[in-house]
């Protein structure tokens, strides 16, 4: 461990705001990139399910 305490870890030697904002933004973008195709697929399957139900009725 490179830090003595958890406070030191958060402070990042005066540069805490820079380090944590950079990591925060990046992790948000990474999460967004994983979520987008998964949500798009769910939407597509919902649309297809609706279409299949309609076709069965008629």
């Amino acid at each position: 461990m490179s830090f003595d305490s958890f406070q030191d870890f958060l402070a990042m030697g005066k540069h805490g705001a820079y380090v944590w904002s950079a990591y925060g933004i990046s992790l948000a973008v990474v999460a967004l990139n994983i979520a987008m195709p998964i949500l798009a697929k769910r939407r597509y399957l919902q649309d297809e399910a609706r279409r299949l139900r309609r076709e069965k009725k008629s």
Binding site: S2, G13, Y18, V19, A22, S26, V29, K41, L45, E48
Partner: protein, 251 residues
């Protein structure tokens, strides 16, 4: 030479099956490598002599910048395949990779700006490396816009492939920019030949983080490509069967 594997690769059904088998393993690898690399870099790597702890931004900045360029090279290669062999799967790869590359480029630029403030005293300078990375972001926007603007699939494949190939000239410019011009940006941390410019305690977590970002890129690319293949092939019997299977599994 036997080329059947190459033609198989162009088959959407074959791609859908094989990528479905690889995806869980790649996702696990991406998660493990990214967590290990980033936690190691944030908490366990030693502080840098001059920059102190602000240098820890390197563990996301360098992997994101590296992958932003690797993604563009992938797109240029896919563009060549799509132009020469008219392989539809190559066009799917090209157009689905563009938004991921744009986001990776965005991460590289934003983390670079944040890192620049404590290190150079400014968020942005019109330096050769920074400017050429910004051009890369605009090239990604160009491919995305072009793909969306042209509704005819064959024309859009051709236009995007040409743009991806022409834009590839920017990649060596990005890589050589720190040598050709006097820039604020430091030279490459990783070199294929010669000694690394960092101690092993610092570059080992960086290497792991780069590998993690690589796996992350492949996972997101496969997720996007699989959905696009399913949509484009929606008239074929295998895709219909697959959609019905997944709809029934959900209900």
């Amino acid at each position: 030479m036997n080329w059947t594997w190459f033609h198989k690769l162009g088959s959407p059904k074959w791609f859908y099956e094989i990528s479905g088998r690889w995806l869980p393993w790649l996702a696990v690898a991406a998660g493990v490598l990214m967590v290990v690399g980033l936690v190691w870099g944030l908490a366990f790597a030693p502080p840098e002599r001059y920059q102190g702890d602000s240098y820890r931004i390197i563990y996301i900045h360098v992997p994101a910048a590296f992958l932003a360029q690797a993604c563009y090279i992938t797109m240029a290669l896919a563009g060549a395949v799509s132009l020469i062999w008219k392989m539809k799967l190559a066009d799917v790869a090209l157009q689905q990779a563009a938004p991921i590359g744009a986001w990776l480029c965005f991460i590289a630029l934003v983390t670079g700006a944040i890192w620049g403030k404590p290190t150079w005293g400014t968020y942005w300078v019109w330096d050769a490396r920074l400017t050429s990375m910004l051009i890369l972001l605009f090239l990604y926007f160009g491919v995305i816009a072009l793909g969306q603007a042209i509704s005819n699939r064959d024309s859009s494949a051709k236009a995007c492939a040409v743009l991806a190939l022409v834009g590839a000239v920017n990649i060596p410019i990005i890589q050589k920019s720190v040598e050709w011009w006097n820039t604020l940006h430091q030279p490459a941390t990783f070199k294929i030949t010669g000694k690394a410019s960092m101690s092993a305690e610092m570059w080992l977590p960086l290497l792991i983080s780069v590998l993690g970002f690589y796996c992350f890129f492949v996972v997101v690319l496969l997720l996007r490509m699989r959905l696009e293949v399913l949509k484009r092939e929606s008239r074929s019997s295998w895709a219909k069967a697959e959609v019905i299977r997944q709809v029934e599994a959900r209900s």
